[in-house]
């Protein structure tokens, strides 16, 4: 007489159900062995792309804070640390840090261009916007090869067309 749900002990093998008292005793025992948060935390063995020996005094594992989304949200505020977001994005590929950095950059209105693999940000409102693209002046973050030395720079690109099918 289990109505709509049927007798849920059928259809599975072996031992019949226990009586209420037995179940309660087992539940009390289980109450003292609850799963702990660390029981479900994944071993976060970060494998560096190019492992190189460093003095033992250097931290040998990632600081836990870099896996905390709140840390990255704080980073996104001032310009200096925006570079840190770009650093995490380009130098910690396929990691949770890259995921968090990209999320923060988008919050700062950066947009990833899938053809140039570069982040763009509107410098001014675009002159033209259609369903397919927008055109205007953009800041973009790029690795600049120059005779006065290479480096990551933010430059302005005028009259650039950002086609939306390249928008990630």
């Amino acid at each position: 007489d289990f109505g709509a749900v049927g007798d849920n002990l059928s259809g599975t093998s072996a031992t019949a159900g226990h009586d209420h008292l037995y179940n309660l005793q087992m539940l009390e025992a289980a109450y003292h062995r609850l799963p702990q948060p660390k029981d479900s935390e994944r071993a976060r063995n970060y494998t560096p792309k190019h492992p190189s020996p460093t003095p033992a005094s250097f931290p040998q594992v990632q600081a836990p804070i870099v896996t905390n989304p709140a840390f990255w949200e704080r980073l996104g505020t001032d310009t200096l640390s925006t570079d840190m977001l770009f650093f995490a994005f380009y130098y910690q590929q396929n990691s949770y840090q890259q995921y968090l950095a990209a999320k923060e950059l988008k919050k700062q209105s950066w947009r990833f261009h899938r053809k140039y693999n570069t982040w763009f940000q509107r410098h001014v409102e675009p002159q033209v916007t259609t369903d397919e693209y927008e055109r205007g002046s953009y800041v973009y973050f790029d690795f600049h090869l120059a005779d006065d030395g290479n480096g990551w720079v933010q430059r302005i690109k005028n009259d650039f067309t950002f086609e939306y099918n390249y928008l990630e």
């Binding site: 948060p37 479900s40 994944r42 976060r44 896996t67 994005f89 396929n94 990209a102 990630e168």
Partner: protein
């Protein structure tokens, strides 16, 4: 009279799904650690 369900650690007005940060039925704390993130292929 039941419980004030807003005290169970869940942001019931959240615009986002709660399950992404649902840590455990036994705690008010949101899930820490890596939620289910996927880096788009074009990031690599």
């Amino acid at each position: 009279l039941g419980i004030d369900l807003t005290t169970l650690g869940l942001n019931l007005n959240s615009a986002d799904n709660l399950y992404k940060t649902f840590g455990s039925p036994w705690s008010n704390e949101p899930a820490k650690g890596d939620p289910d993130f996927q880096n788009p292929a074009c990031y690599l």
